[in-house]
């Protein structure tokens, strides 16, 4: 009996202390309409693809004429995942625009969590983008 109680206690501790997954709720009637992009411009390493997936990409223009990108990610595992991401920008001719402050950004996502990452283009000439996702260490 004592062993059984101890085992149950240990299991409860494990569940409470090590569970990293996240639940979230949102309003059913979404007011804002997202302009979703059909094609995928996301480059991800295979290790991360199995764990963190891209749910959707939407874009908008800022008042100043800059392209703004929002990417929704979903952690398909039950544990915390760390990753780095980087946006690359291209002009109308497909030439890459060199952003002076365009390094990789470290981020983390809880188990089961849906998360948005976003970026604003460095110049109004940026017409296209590419997102690189790399599994964290």
């Amino acid at each position: 009996m004592k062993i059984k109680i101890a085992l149950m206690f240990a299991a409860a501790l494990a569940v409470a202390g090590c569970h990293n997954s996240m639940n979230s709720v949102q309003n059913a009637q979404q007011v804002g309409q997202r302009t979703m992009i059909s094609d995928s411009r996301v480059v991800s390493d295979t290790g991360l693809t199995r764990k963190v997936g891209v749910v959707g990409i939407n874009t908008a223009m800022t008042p100043g004429g800059f392209l703004k990108v929002q990417v929704e990610l979903l952690n398909q595992t039950r544990s915390l995942q760390t990753f780095n991401y980087r946006f690359e920008w291209f002009d109308a001719n497909g030439m890459q625009i060199n952003a002076p402050a365009g390094g990789a950004v470290a981020a983390e996502i809880d188990g089961g969590e849906s998360k948005f990452i976003n970026a604003v283009a460095p110049t109004p000439a940026s017409k296209d983008f590419r997102l690189k996702l790399i599994l964290g260490q």
């Binding site: 002076p100 402050a101 390094g103």
Partner: protein, 187 residues
């Protein structure tokens, strides 16, 4: 006979290891293989803070509200409230370059804090004077926390864009938190 072959081979191996075994190599600035240290601001932190705040500033449209674009920006005081001596241009220059590239703002180098020109020669050459539309000021703050051997440091990068009426028309803050055990560096 056997020793005559093995000994030179070992010696050659030792020479190879000591001369060519150096671990120094180039990495991409701001990339995933850069060193991460808890006790100081790394280059990727400056890049990330500059990137985030430039994006927010451009998206806000604050720079578009001037009579004759592009907006003229004057750089004010950037206070360093971290435990280390830092050159705030590691943050501000990246923002200046990004804003110039965006076409939305140019920075004056002939008008600065306390009447000091960043470029005194340019001030002497200046023939026309257009007053600045905005002043950019800010602060970098470090907040430390410790639990046992684990140390956490949060660096808060704060910027304010003030117009000629003395109103902060845009403000941005980017916080970067790093955690690690004492004396360790990560990648």
């Amino acid at each position: 006979m056997k020793n005559k072959i093995i000994v030179p081979l070992i010696a050659a191996g030792a020479v190879f290891i000591t001369s060519c075994g150096t671990n120094a190599h180039y990495v991409e600035t701001g990339g995933n293989r850069n060193i991460v240290s808890v006790g100081e601001i790394n280059i990727q932190d400056y890049i990330q803070a500059a990137n985030t705040m430039t994006g927010e500033l451009l998206a806000s449209g604050a720079l578009d509200r001037v009579k004759s674009p592009p907006a003229i920006l004057a750089i004010s005081r950037i206070v360093n409230n971290t435990g280390k001596q830092i050159d705030t241009d590691l943050l501000i220059k990246k923002i200046r370059v990004a804003l110039l590239q965006s076409g939305k703002a140019v920075t004056t180098t002939t008008f600065g804090l306390g009447g000091q020109a960043e470029d005194p020669l340019a001030k002497g050459m200046q023939q026309t004077t257009r007053p600045a539309d905005f002043s950019l000021s800010g602060k970098i703050i470090q907040l430390n926390a410790k639990a046992g051997d684990t140390t956490q440091a949060t660096y808060s990068f704060q910027l304010s864009l003030t117009d000629t009426q003395g109103l902060a028309t845009w403000e941005g803050e980017k916080e970067i938190t790093k955690i690690g055990t004492r004396g360790t560096v990560g990648f």
